[in-house]
């Protein structure tokens, strides 16, 4: 590693004279509630302890052994369902009301509570374990001048700790010194933000001089900085030391969770510890998503409650009547219980009694079963081999377990392009140098062009690099200065880090794959980037090692869309190299480039239309004077404490002017495997796909064509690229008019539709007059909405009314819409969004290009708001997070761009093509299973419970149950739970290949056909019908029946057992009919449930049990009875 001669300006720490007095003893009060600023003094534990900063011990666990029970129970009872059952339990403890023993409620409730508690406890146990493991990691702390081993949890704010290579950073540290020159060190932030490239951190120069532990022991600087926050890329603080003040930025910080790389050792001062670290501050809870079935279920449960109350009221009224007419006279045999003195009070109590016995219409096991089923489906997604990518060794992952069935209802997919549709593996494909274009299309049919062999020319070439145009290499060999300058730029202007394991074996680590591709291209053409230090870049230019001093790096960001470096070559000439998006760069060229610019622009357009990603390259020579002046300027901007970003941007802007154009590069981003097929299948499934990309329009459209979203057979592709509100409105309206026109000519027109259209047109006209001149007024939504405003200044156009008209829905034919970011901004405004939604939703495919992350989210929100459809967003980068979070379902592609998107997502996998399997197979099955499950579940509980209602009319509305209480307790948790769970988890209607072959099978989910209010009522009706049969047939059969011994059968016990047995059999037959896919498990569960019913029934009726508990098990002995008489 070469010793740097110079350190670039931006890495200089700002040394300012002490401007304000140190307030050494002006410590803050001890309260830690709202920390306004943080003061940390190195090596002074007493001082720091006054502030009571959090220690480095992290606690992610929620409970300990003592608090577990109360805290967990408290949390569980915050669930409405659990509280409801607790309320029922309390009701049951009142003897006058209790129609059922308390255990009928407490057994299921306890079961549910304990299952949840066990799950929470295991989760927490693992959290404890990982906490312990992390807290007990060893680190070396400088205590009283010597390094001592300490556990992480004992590290305090203000301690100086030593880190070694490949160690995890224990807390948020201020880098003080490092074993590398200039106090540099390298970190990998994969755990923090998922980026696997290395980043550089540098210590403040004064502390980097301190070096080893001996000097650091006497370091007593004080840091004043912002309070703990969750911004990973920002830090703002000041170091006060030896009467001087040094500004601290994120560049000086090592955050917890990073790993030290390529650095032997470094020392850092603990600023934030434990829960205050940025890593922990970022681990917030994500927003909880609910599915539409969830919401429907909640509504239905509320309705059922209403129904329950109604039944309760009916029966209570019945009770009042009965007690008045019969019960009061019957008192000689059955007097009223003491508090009851009139029939009204009795009716009141009977209402509550019936609420208790009828509560099984909403069984507690419903919610638990739903969760279990979803968990099962999630596991099936995780286990799916066909969604496993062997290249990146990642299996699909259902990160949220509560959304599975919604995967079967998706109507809109919002997809990112780069990294999602494409591989995000960049290949340097073409370039234009000085008006000359190089590079052939690599995958041309016919003659396969020869792949170039770089090795004889350049031993350092990357053997994996492909290029097919010899002319370019010739041009380099010939020594064309422009060409050489072109590649020199590529080898210098970047932020790539290199690693040289052995001589000639270079590995580049780039933040973006584009950069990597460009640097690799330069390497193969003889301009090899070898290594960098903060002040130098060393390259090998056609075999000759050259070291440039790096004067400044003008960073890339999304607004600037370009980056520059300023370097001084060995000859002492200063040059600025700039690469960036053509739109911004071409504006900043020297006027003499006019001719070259037009040729290059042509090339750029050509590249873009091939779907390539383009960059323009330029340079500028700087005189020593210019450089001095600007660097002063820049330094000033860098020091500024307020608006630093803006000032820096202005400073950059200042120097990136009058540049000389070198040429342009074109990088190919290959489509991922199977993307066109996937998109074709998904659109056959009636899923609309919107691509939201930051790329430019041409690139986006081309990707659209290459992945079959747009096809030549399409009726029309509309492009919206207006810059003003009016033009966008006009373009949108025109698009829709054309659509209607075309579909009318196709369909032959519909008279009725025309009439309606005319009507609306008239109305629109009337409306328009009132609004004359106020074209941009935001207004409510109405029939005349789109007639207002618009570009139609002169003429009032007559467009059909919005979706309320059947006419509009009739649009047939394939349309596509391409909209630009700046037009989208207008289209998303309040008064135009309906128009935009109408137009866009009539199209088969929509491509939004040049969109910002925020716009991506806005588009998703727009569709959610206007369409009531299930949306799915899929993306891989940090810019997709907002979209992923706002869609109903977020899918993260674990690809090249780190894992932030995955962390924010609900499902993740590594290839776009897995989406078809996720939706058409897993989603479809999940939806189907969940719907069948819910239908059956409501059915079986109504069949079970409504029998009590009918019996009420024959037992004086006394809330006597039909079944014995053990049956009621066990019905939902033993006798009928498992078969329906098995169906909910394993059922399949068609094999997986079929649902991929016939995507139309997906439609019932989108139309919400399998479980909706209608289906619910059908289930309920069937359940009630079953209950009628179950009650009245035994009633009619048993009322006069006697055994063959002459003993009558119409006793309560016989009736109860007969009805219960019939119920279990009927319900089992029903599940057998509903199950379409009988695996071994289904067989075991169905037969097992029936078996368990009979086993338990015989056990409960046994004499032994009666002898032990005569009062509880008084339902003795049907079997013994029959046996004794009939068997002998």
């Amino acid at each position: 590693m070469t010793v740097p001669k110079d350190i670039p300006e931006k890495w200089f720490t700002v040394v300012l004279p002490l401007q304000r007095k140190k307030r050494l003893d002006g410590g803050k009060p001890k309260e830690r509630r709202t920390e306004e600023e943080r003061r940390v003094r190195a090596n002074d534990r007493e001082y720091n302890e006054r502030f009571q900063y959090a220690s480095n011990c992290i606690v992610t666990s929620k409970y300990n052994i003592i608090t577990f029970l109360p805290v967990n129970l408290f949390e569980q009872f915050q669930e409405v369902a659990n509280t409801y059952f607790l309320f029922l339990l309390i009701l049951q403890l009142i003897p006058q009301i209790s129609s059922l023993s308390w255990f009928t409620t407490i057994v299921p409730l306890a079961l549910v509570l304990s299952i949840t508690a066990v799950k929470d406890a295991t989760d927490d146990y693992f959290r404890h374990k990982s906490d312990n493991q992390v807290n007990n990691r060893q680190s070396q702390v400088l205590i009283r001048g010597s390094l001592q081993k300490e556990k992480w949890m004992n590290v305090r704010v203000g301690d100086i700790i030593k880190l070694e290579n490949n160690q995890f950073v224990a807390a948020d540290l201020l880098l003080l010194s490092s074993s590398e020159p200039h106090g540099l060190c390298y970190i990998e932030t994969a755990e923090l933000d998922g980026e696997s490239n290395m980043k550089v951190r540098q210590s403040v120069s004064v502390t980097s001089e301190l070096g080893g532990p001996n000097n650091l022991a006497s370091f007593n600087g004080e840091v004043v900085c912002e309070p703990p926050n969750n911004k990973l890329d920002r830090f703002c603080g000041t170091l006060y030391w030896r009467e001087k003040k040094y500004a601290l930025t994120n560049q000086n910080m090592l955050l917890r969770g990073c790993v030290l790389r390529n650095t032997e050792a470094c020392y850092g001062l603990v600023i934030f510890a434990g829960p205050d670290t940025k890593l922990m501050q970022n681990s917030g809870r994500t927003k909880f998503k609910r599915t539409s079935i969830d919401r429907l279920m909640n509504t239905l449960v509320l309705w059922i409650f209403g129904f329950l109350v109604c039944m309760g009221v009916i029966l209570a009224v019945g009770n009042a009547v009965w007690e008045r007419e019969v019960g009061s006279l019957f008192q000689s045999y059955l007097p009223w219980d003491p508090p009851v003195d009139n029939f009204l009070f009795s009716a009141f109590l009977s209402f509550w009694s019936y609420v208790i016995i009828l509560n099984t219409v909403v069984p507690i096991s419903l919610y638990v079963s739903v969760e279990v089923i979803r968990l099962g489906h999630s596991y099936f997604i995780n286990w799916d081999q066909q969604m496993f990518c062997s290249q990146c060794n990642t299996a699909a992952e259902a990160r949220t377990t509560t959304l599975n069935e919604e995967l079967g209802q998706v109507e809109y997919i919002f997809s990112d392009k780069t990294g999602t549709l494409t591989q995000n593996i960049m290949i340097f494909n073409k370039c234009s140098i000085n008006g000359q274009t190089y590079g052939e299309v690599t995958d041309q049919l016919g003659t396969q062009p020869k792949r170039m062999d770089f090795s004889p020319f350049n031993p350092l070439a990357d053997p994996d690099f492909c290029f097919y145009d010899d002319k370019l290499l010739e041009s380099v060999k010939v020594g064309d200065s422009q060409t050489q300058e072109f590649f020199r730029l590529l080898s210098l202007c970047h932020t790539v880090m290199s690693e040289e394991k052995s001589e000639g074996e270079l590995v580049y680590k780039a933040q973006s794959p584009d950069e990597g591709a460009l640097v690799t291209a330069a390497r193969n053409f003889g301009f090899v980037f070898r290594s960098r230090t903060p002040g130098t870049i060393t390259t090998t230019e056609i075999g000759r090692t050259v070291t440039y001093s790096l004067l400044a790096i003008l960073d890339f960001n999304n607004i600037r869309k370009r980056m520059s470096v300023i370097v001084r070559n060995p000859e002492g000439r200063i040059r600025l190299y700039c690469k960036g998006a053509d739109t911004v760069l071409l504006e900043r060229l020297h006027p003499c480039n006019q001719e070259l610019m037009s040729i290059t622009s042509d090339h750029l357009n050509e590249y873009a239309s091939d779907g390539l990603r383009t960059l323009a390259l330029a340079y500028r020579d700087l005189s020593e004077g210019e450089w001095e002046a600007w660097s002063e300027n820049h330094r000033y901007a860098d020091k500024a404490s307020d608006y630093r970003e803006d000032r820096l941007a202005a400073a950059y802007e200042e120097i990136e002017q009058d540049m000389m154009l070198l040429g342009a590069t074109a990088i190919e981003d290959k489509l991922q495997e199977g993307v066109p097929e996937t998109i074709a299948v998904l659109s056959l499934a009636n899923i609309k796909i919107w691509v939201l990309t930051g790329d430019k329009q041409e690139t986006a459209v081309n990707i659209g064509y290459s992945c079959k979203m747009l096809t030549d057979e399409m009726t029309e592709v509309f492009i919206i690229s207006g810059h003003t509100v009016q033009s966008v409105r006009q373009e949108l309206r025109k698009a829709r008019e054309t659509m209607i026109e075309l579909s009318r000519t196709r369909d032959g027109g519909k008279e009725e539709g025309m009439e309606r259209w005319g009507e609306a047109c008239f109305m629109g006209n009337g409306f328009r007059e009132g609004q004359e001149g106020d074209s941009t007024a935001a207004g409510g939504e109405g029939e005349g909405e789109e007639e207002r405003g618009g570009g139609g200044r002169k003429q009032v156009r007559c467009t059909p009314p919005p979706s309320s008209s059947p006419n509009f829905m009739d649009i047939s034919g394939d349309f596509a819409l391409v909209i630009n970011g700046h037009s989208l901004a207008h289209a998303l405004e309040a008064d135009m969004e309906t128009e935009f939604v109408l137009t866009a939703c009539a199209c088969k495919a929509v491509i939004c290009c040049r969109v910002t992350p925020l716009q991506k989210a806005q588009v998703v929100e727009l569709i959610k708001k206007h369409k009531k459809a299930v949306t799915l967003a899929i993306g891989d980068g940090a810019n997709d997070i907002s979209m992923i979070k706002s869609a109903h379902i977020g899918v993260g592609i674990s690809g090249q761009e780190g894992i932030q998107a995955v962390l924010a997502s609900d499902y993740s996998f590594s290839q776009f093509r897995f989406l078809q399997r996720l939706l058409l197979v897993h989603g479809r099955w999940s939806y189907l299973r969940m719907c069948r499950f819910l239908c059956y579940f409501f059915y079986k509980n109504f069949a079970f419970t409504m029998v009590h209602f009918w019996f009420g009319f024959f037992c004086g509305f006394s809330a006597q149950t039909v079944y014995d209480q053990y049956f009621i307790t066990l019905y939902n948790i033993v006798y009928t739970s498992l078969p329906v769970l098995a169906m909910g988890i394993f059922d399949q209607d068609v094999p997986e290949q079929r649902s991929l072959e016939y995507p139309k099978l997906y439609e019932p989910g989108q139309l919400n056909l399998l479980f909706n209010k209608r289906e619910f009522f059908i289930c309920i009706a069937q359940g009630i019908y079953t209950s009628v049969v179950l009650f009245f047939v035994p009633y009619a059969v048993l009322s006069d029946a006697t055994q063959s011994t002459g003993v009558p059968l119409a006793n309560y016990q016989t009736f109860a057992v007969t009805t219960a047995t019939a119920l279990v059999i009927v319900v089992s037959v029903q599940i057998a009919l509903d199950t379409g896919f009988w695996t071994v498990i289904n067989h075991v569960f169905v037969w097992g449930s029936l078996g368990s019913y009979f086993t338990i029934m015989f056990a409960l009726h046994s004499q032994t049990l009666f002898r032990i508990f005569p009062n509880q098990f008084n339902f003795v002995v049907l079997r013994a009875h029959y046996c004794s008489r009939s068997c002998g």
Binding site: N166, N262, V326, L329, F330, S332, Y333, L334, D337, P338, F380, N382, W383, D384, Q385, F388, Q391, C392, I425, D462, D464, F465, M497, E499, V507, A510, P513, G516, A517, T520, F954, C955, G956, S958, Q960, F986, V990, P991, S1039, D1040, A1041, S1044, T1045, G1046, V1047, P1048, L1049, A1050, N1051, Y1052, G1076, F1077, W1078, V1080, N1111, N1114, V1116, A1120, H1121, R1125
Partner: protein
């Protein structure tokens, strides 16, 4: 710079650029197991309901149910049953005056006689039932008002009956045996049957009062407290239910096997009915030896010792005589139900068959293979 342990993700080797290859260690494959369970490929039977399976099922059900129904119906019709209401609601009823005057604390028994004629002789064993209507033995408070421990001979429950028995738990400080509303309302009419022969003499029909309860009730559920030697002593310290005339140990003083809690009339009453109109077995008239019918046709007199008041709540009392077949007593509903279900199935089968033949245009429709 020095090497680091950098695990590059394995990418296609042809792509250059960013996907640089570091020391890609042997990463453990996370590939999910290829088991039938995890891949949702468990072998399964997928029943698909087609006309070929459903139609035969309908016909088979129909063809099985209809004969069963006919058999049951015929059997039921052959059973002879006679029923007489002796509540005494109407003024011309012999029991009218008794019904008027009856009350629980009446000490002088009121006897009334009902004449009736059997048109047909009753063969084999004849069973005599009493029936009550509008009597809510299935009322929740009534059903639970008993103490099974006490009835099972538990001594502690005898002295300290369960709270469920309230308000018939204790009387004047002494525990009631048997406690509870069910026991308290024990049916206490006495029914006697006389045959009037041709010369007008009343011949008593012998009534068997044992063997009328469920075997398990008699032998398992109900037991007398103590060693069953002397019931008077065993029940010492308890009192009779409020409505009773005699204490429990005097229900059948002559027969120790039928006294106390194991008195069969008591046991029969304690097995609560499911519906407000019910009948309970009262006595059995055993078949006579020889070819004489058990009850020959002719005139009979039913002597009722009228103790049990039901008119206050508009109840009814009946006496029923019935013969029994293999399927039990008279029960026309069962046969009708079988016939109805069978006919509906058969009818549906025919209708569906017609529809199937008429409208089935799918020839060789793609059967979804398993």
């Amino acid at each position: 710079m020095m090497a680091s342990s950098y695990n590059a993700k394995e990418e296609d080797a042809h792509h250059s650029g960013a996907s640089s290859h570091g020391g890609a260690g042997a990463v453990k494959s996370k590939k999910p197991d290829n088991t039938a369970f995890k891949q949702q490929r468990l072998p399964a039977w997928q029943p698909i309901l087609t006309a070929g399976t459903v139609l035969p099922a309908f016909f088979v059900i129909g063809l099985i149910f209809i004969p069963i129904g006919i058999g049951l119906f015929v059997t039921s019709n052959n059973i002879k049953e006679f029923e007489i209401d002796y509540t005494g609601v109407k003024t011309d009823s012999p029991c009218y005056s008794c019904a008027k005057n009856v009350s629980w604390n009446n000490t002088t028994p009121c006897v009334c006689s009902m004449d009736f004629t059997l048109e047909q002789p009753f063969e084999n064993n004849v069973y005599m039932y009493y029936g009550l209507s509008n009597f809510y033995q299935n009322h929740r408070r009534y059903v639970k008002s008993r103490d099974d421990s006490q009835l099972n001979g538990d001594l502690s429950a005898l002295k300290e009956p369960s709270k469920e028995c309230e308000p018939y738990r204790k009387s004047e400080g002494l525990p009631i045996a048997p406690c509870g509303a069910i026991a308290n309302s024990l049916f206490n009419d006495t029914l006697e049957l006389f045959h009037i022969d041709s010369n007008g003499t009343r011949n008593p029909v012998p009534l068997v009062k044992q063997g009328i309860a469920w075997w398990t009730d008699k032998n398992v559920k109900f037991r007398n407290p103590g060693a069953n030697s002397n019931l008077t002593i065993a029940f010492q310290g308890t009192t009779k239910p409020v409505n009773w005339r005699r204490p429990v140990y005097e229900l059948d003083p002559l027969n120790s096997d039928n006294n106390g809690f194991i008195n069969e009339d008591f046991i029969v009453w304690m097995r609560t009915a499911a519906l407000p109109t019910f009948r309970k077995l009262y006595r059995i008239i055993s078949k006579k030896s020889g070819s004489n019918p058990t009850l020959s046709s002719g005139r009979y007199v039913l002597d009722v010792t009228y103790n049990y008041p039901v008119l206050s709540f508009d109840g009814r009392k009946r006496m029923i005589l019935s013969t029994i077949s293999w399927m039990g007593g008279k029960n026309p509903f069962l046969g009708i139900a079988y016939i109805t279900v069978g006919s509906i199935c058969f009818f549906l089968g025919v209708v569906l068959l017609i529809i199937h033949h008429k409208y089935d245009t799918r020839n060789n429709s793609p059967d979804i293979p398993n």
